[in-house]
């Protein structure tokens, strides 16, 4: 094992994950998820976030359909979708997605279709952005493991 390479990768990983927290992509719940992962369940976090991204994609599609016709918007259904999205984003620590959902809910309550469409676009953007970031993070993890190192536990407090 090349300890310099491992140390470099670990440093890279640490800096990257800290930046994700600092930029508000992730909140403390993500670190709670990481604590639940161990050698016996090395893919736990990746699996949970994967389910989350599936949820995002599915819910965004159904909400988009509900918002399509200006004269016939089912705000109850949109609100239900946002509620689910807010819940799962909260469970994985996807802070930016969750925050958009809060505004999104407001737009639903006042039946503001334009506002809803903007929020929908934003939520789509945010989840895809997070997906890319986390993919990069998981890739770094893989590189560390392949180089024979261990993944650092990062304290964000």
């Amino acid at each position: 094992m090349n300890t310099t390479v491992v140390a470099q990768l670990q440093r890279q990983f640490q800096d990257y994950i800290v930046s994700l927290y600092q930029q508000g992509f992730l909140d403390n719940q993500f670190s709670e998820l990481r604590k639940l992962q161990d050698e016996g369940t090395p893919d736990f976090v990746a699996e949970v976030v994967s389910l989350f991204f599936d949820d995002c994609s599915k819910l965004i599609n159904t909400m988009s359909a509900s918002l399509e016709r200006p004269d016939n918007v089912d705000f109850k259904q949109v609100d239900s979708g946002v509620h689910q999205l807010k819940g799962s984003s909260s469970s994985v620590g996807a802070q930016r997605v969750k925050n958009v959902c809060i505004s999104f809910k407001e737009c639903c309550h006042v039946q503001n279709r334009e506002g809803c469409l903007r929020c929908l676009q934003q939520v789509d953007y945010e989840y895809k952005m997070l997906k890319t970031k986390l993919q990069d993070l998981f890739n770094l993890e893989q590189q560390i493991l392949q180089a024979g190192g261990t993944i650092p536990q990062v304290d964000i407090n």
């Binding site: 604590k35 639940l36 949970v48 389910l51 799962s88």
Partner: protein
């Protein structure tokens, strides 16, 4: 020379909820969110609980044998120590599930914990009034689960101690031959 008589094998019921196995509590978790199901399952496993997860209140009732078409017969051996359910679910809510459980003679003693992402006081009150053991705000913390587990294990502890004492008394009476052999030592 005395014959060696092997004692008859004791029949101990295979009860996963008692000591002897690392999985002490069997928890039934109910949530319509796939993400939350995966999360709560992991929390419970990390806390050394046996877990069964279902995606709706209807399926929970089916699992417990309380479904519309089923009778409670045959489910006497099903041991569930705790039910954790999400509040907002399509179809039957966690609150309605709570009521159905409290109405059933087989399961009304099982503690039911409600989980919700919304901190709505009247909702919490309603659930507690209906007999919920606790109301947890999502995302649920590991410390919440550990606290629940510890308080429930204390209850199981007491009932287990009583049942082992009872079992010991019973086996003494069941094997008088064995105790006679013990006395006739060479």
């Amino acid at each position: 020379m005395a014959e060696v008589l092997l004692p008859r094998k004791m029949e101990i019921p295979n009860d996963p909820s008692k000591f002897g196995s690392p999985d002490l509590l069997h928890v039934l978790a109910v949530d319509d969110s796939h993400v939350d199901r995966k999360f709560i399952e992991r929390l419970l496993r990390v806390s050394s609980c046996k877990v069964t997860v279902v995606d709706s209140a209807t399926r929970a009732l089916q699992y417990l044998g309380l479904g519309v078409e089923e009778k409670s017969v045959g489910f006497q051996d099903l041991k569930v120590n705790l039910i954790m359910t999400d509040y907002s679910m399509p179809g039957m809510t966690g609150y309605e599930l709570l009521k159905k459980i409290k109405e059933s003679s087989a399961f009304r003693q099982v503690p039911v914990v409600i989980m919700s992402s919304e901190n709505i006081l009247p909702r919490i009150d309603r659930c507690l009034e209906e007999g919920a053991e606790d109301f947890l705000l999502k995302p649920v913390k590991l410390s919440d689960v550990e606290r629940l587990r510890d308080s429930l294990m204390k209850v199981e502890d007491l009932s287990f101690t009583k049942s082992t004492q009872k079992r010991e008394l019973e086996t003494e009476n069941a094997y008088p031959v064995h105790s006679q052999l013990k006395r006739a030592k060479i």
